[in-house]
Symmetry: C2
Subunit: 407 residues, 2 copies
């Protein structure tokens, strides 16, 4: 199939593009390289030595004989350019990773909040509007987040996107009828940051375009990715994927791995009692391929899958890594506005039923510590590890916290 | 109180600003005059001869001795300018009317869809971010729409913003526990246009800022406004309010009045079976004043009131006006994607309990036909009455419809 991967230069988009190309799809990458510019803004860099898009793509052709096109387009700002690209490439599938995705970065300052809203909402809406305008029968696969669900609800499991409820009936004057009416609705959201909120807004944009224009849309509510390598990125060192360990973009598990590798104590927020959903990067690329192979029919509501394989309490993860690596653990104040402890039970039936065989933390962690964190530890700038983004002005009064988890 | 009225040059904002000024508040208007430029773009004009902001404001001082400041700022584009204005004027209340508000205009073309999303989302988010950044304890009053609820649900009354439901309990493995858990959530939305969808997105922005930053926010889910004059706009003809009758901005009742006045048949969509919620413009300004006087406490969730006083089926309205005016009625295809017939029962307890005494359609309609529609009928350009905005490409194949209702 002809597939455009938006955000295909990023942490998820790059290995996903390679995997889809390896499976024989005709893949093009669209990216405005904003993530690389944000590294410059923050004075950070990937722990792993990622190459320029041109070098990466040449290496892919060297390694496999396959080619992937690269299009430098800002999908939030250059609508006309994106419409022209659609008409020219006529994709059957568009996989949309192209958003600002770090929660701490989205809370850093008014400028960062506004950039995240503006970039993410306009990117997603431009993609939808352009598909309608192009009149192509595109299947849009979007990367959402488990974070839209908030942090779990006592006594129930988080379903895949939609919630079945019973609504107490009322007559026109507002008197209870005693009836309980069945209704299905988007799961009510409780986003923990501006970044997460943009994914809530995306959901509503999708629901509207699926209804009004009969667009075929799959929204993947993804857990926190861990790991760096996939089968394809390991074919040549020039194909290596990015590994973020800084306080803004480093996701919790990858930061723990890096801290362990450089002998920095693993810093856990509050009691570390927050439960999060995880998925290995190799499973993520497989899920994308499965989603591409299982599009919704036209005129259906948006298909929503939970793309995660395990849930863990943050302090359990930290302890696991301390055990493997001999690192120590330190508790620091939480920069986020959230409950100290939460449970999280979520359904991920769809991907399991479609054949996903999860890589478990217990099997993959040690390899990751050795092959990535220790191997590139000399490239680490330890001063970039602390989390400096706070959720509210009020928190600025307290001591600066060292680490924020990123989902 | 010091009050900034964003969008204070518009159909609702202008009479609201005058009313708040008349009540003794210290009022400033912020507007980028985009609505006047859209009239130029569409080749339309208000039926009533509205004056420039400067003339209007001078007339207000002549008539009452009171002054209202005017600030030409684009709140979606000029964030820094808006922050500076907040710090300089230090308002206690901000009333936010400043969005693109016509459903048909928002569906006209990809450019109009994208403008509506970009303008409305960034306007609302900038206001929220600027309030946090300014560190002022502002009460934000926002104009939302009854349209976020979709078009009603059989067997229940639409509550004010939040829905109480029962969720079937599940154990961590997804087996039913038989328990029914109580939950309160934002009423699930089903917006009928890109414009309405921006109000859905606004709701989520408000919920986040109320939670994360403890902002005090009231969101008024307003019905379709009818009527033109308020006590204050009638003090001097130079204070006259705008009256839109074109296919994009003319709201259903005002367009019917104009059609009746110029002897054009009242064009009703489909069977005219859609039920809509209405409120007279005089009641709207009173509701704003009531909302200003009843702010939520900090740290509370967003206060949501339904700002409407009557619901009517569109064909019943048309028949009522035909009766009053002797006009005839014509059924035309519906340009919208919606069910042909719907019921709509909604609660509006809060405003009634706070003392609102509604102006009823039966008492105000005749006056409106005579004092506005007939009086300025010679200014009407009948070629602008037809609705030309279609909801989907597919509809372009059918005959062009003449009138779209605007909410
Ligand atoms: N990494 C995770 O743990 C995780 C978890 C859940 C969901 N996700 C979602 O997956 C997607 C990809 O995440 P990631 O970790 O690969 O992030 P990333 O920042 O590494 O990649 C995003 C890519 O999109 C590009 N981009 C951003 N805005 C763009 C625009 N306007 N036009 C063109 N390109 C643009 C960036 O340059 C970058 O290459 C995101 O939408 C994210 O929300 C990621
Ligand atoms: N008119 C109705 O029947 C109705 C019904 C329900 C809700 N509402 C809501 O009430 C509000 C006001 O509606 P209206 O009928 O007065 O619309 P209007 O178009 O007459 O007024 C809106 C005003 O906001 C200004 N504006 C728009 N974007 C701006 C920006 N970025 N910066 C500064 N100013 C900007 C416009 O110039 C205009 O003067 C809207 O939010 C609308 O959604 C109206």
């Amino acid at each position: 199939m002809r597939i455009l991967v938006l955000g295909g230069d990023g942490f998820c988009g790059w290995p996903a593009a390679l995997h889809l190309s390896q499976l024989g799809h005709d893949v093009g990458i669209v990216d405005n390289l904003s993530r690389r510019r944000i590294d410059e803004e923050l004075g950070t860099d990937s722990l792993t030595p990622i190459r320029t898009p041109q070098e990466r793509l040449a290496a892919w052709t060297d390694a496999t004989g396959r080619t992937i096109d690269f299009h430098e387009v800002d999908i939030a700002q250059d609508y006309e350019g994106f419409v022209a690209l659609l008409s020219q490439t006529r994709p059957e599938v568009v996989v949309h990773f192209a958003e600002q995705r770090a929660a701490p970065y989205s809370m850093k300052s008014p400028t960062h909040k506004r950039y995240t809203i503006d970039n993410n909402v306009n990117a997603t809406h431009n993609v939808l509007s352009a598909i309608v305008e192009s009149d192509l029968d595109v299947h849009l696969v979007h990367l959402g987040t488990m974070g839209v669900y908030g942090y779990g609800t006592a006594g129930m499991r988080i379903p895949e996107g939609y919630l079945d409820v019973k609504v107490p009936g009322e007559d026109p004057d507002g008197n209870a009828t005693g009836e309980l009416l069945d209704q299905t609705m988007l799961y009510p959201t409780n986003p923990g940051s501006i970044y997460h909120m943009t994914k809530v807004l995306d959901q509503h944009l999708f629901a509207f375009y699926a209804k009004n224009d009969k667009l075929r849309i799959t929204d993947l509510h993804q857990g926190i990715i861990w790991g760096t390598h996939t089968e394809e990125t390991q074919l040549d060192e020039r194909l290596i994927n990015r590994f973020d360990y800084d306080g803004d973009y480093g996701t919790v598990l990858n930061r723990f791995l890096m801290q362990a590798a450089v002998g920095y104590p693993l810093t856990v927020h509050g009691t570390g009692g927050q439960t999060r959903a995880f998925i290995h990067i190799q499973d993520m690329v497989r899920c994308i391929a499965i989603a591409v192979d299982n599009p919704p029919a036209g005129g259906e509501k948006v298909k929503i899958f939970n793309q995660m394989t395990e849930t863990h309490r943050v302090r359990d993860l930290a302890e696991l890594i301390c055990e493997i690596s001999g690192a120590s653990l330190e508790l620091v104040p939480n920069p986020r506005q959230e409950s100290a402890e939460n449970d999280l039970y979520a359904s991920n039936r769809t991907f399991l039923d479609l054949g996903l065989e999860p890589t478990t933390l217990s099997s993959g962690l040690l390899q990751e510590v050795e092959e990535t964190a220790r191997r590139y530890a000399d490239r680490a700038d330890q001063s970039k590890i602390p989390a400096t983004s706070l959720w509210t002005e009020a928190q600025a009064v307290g001591a600066p916290t060292r680490i924020a988890e990123t989902a």
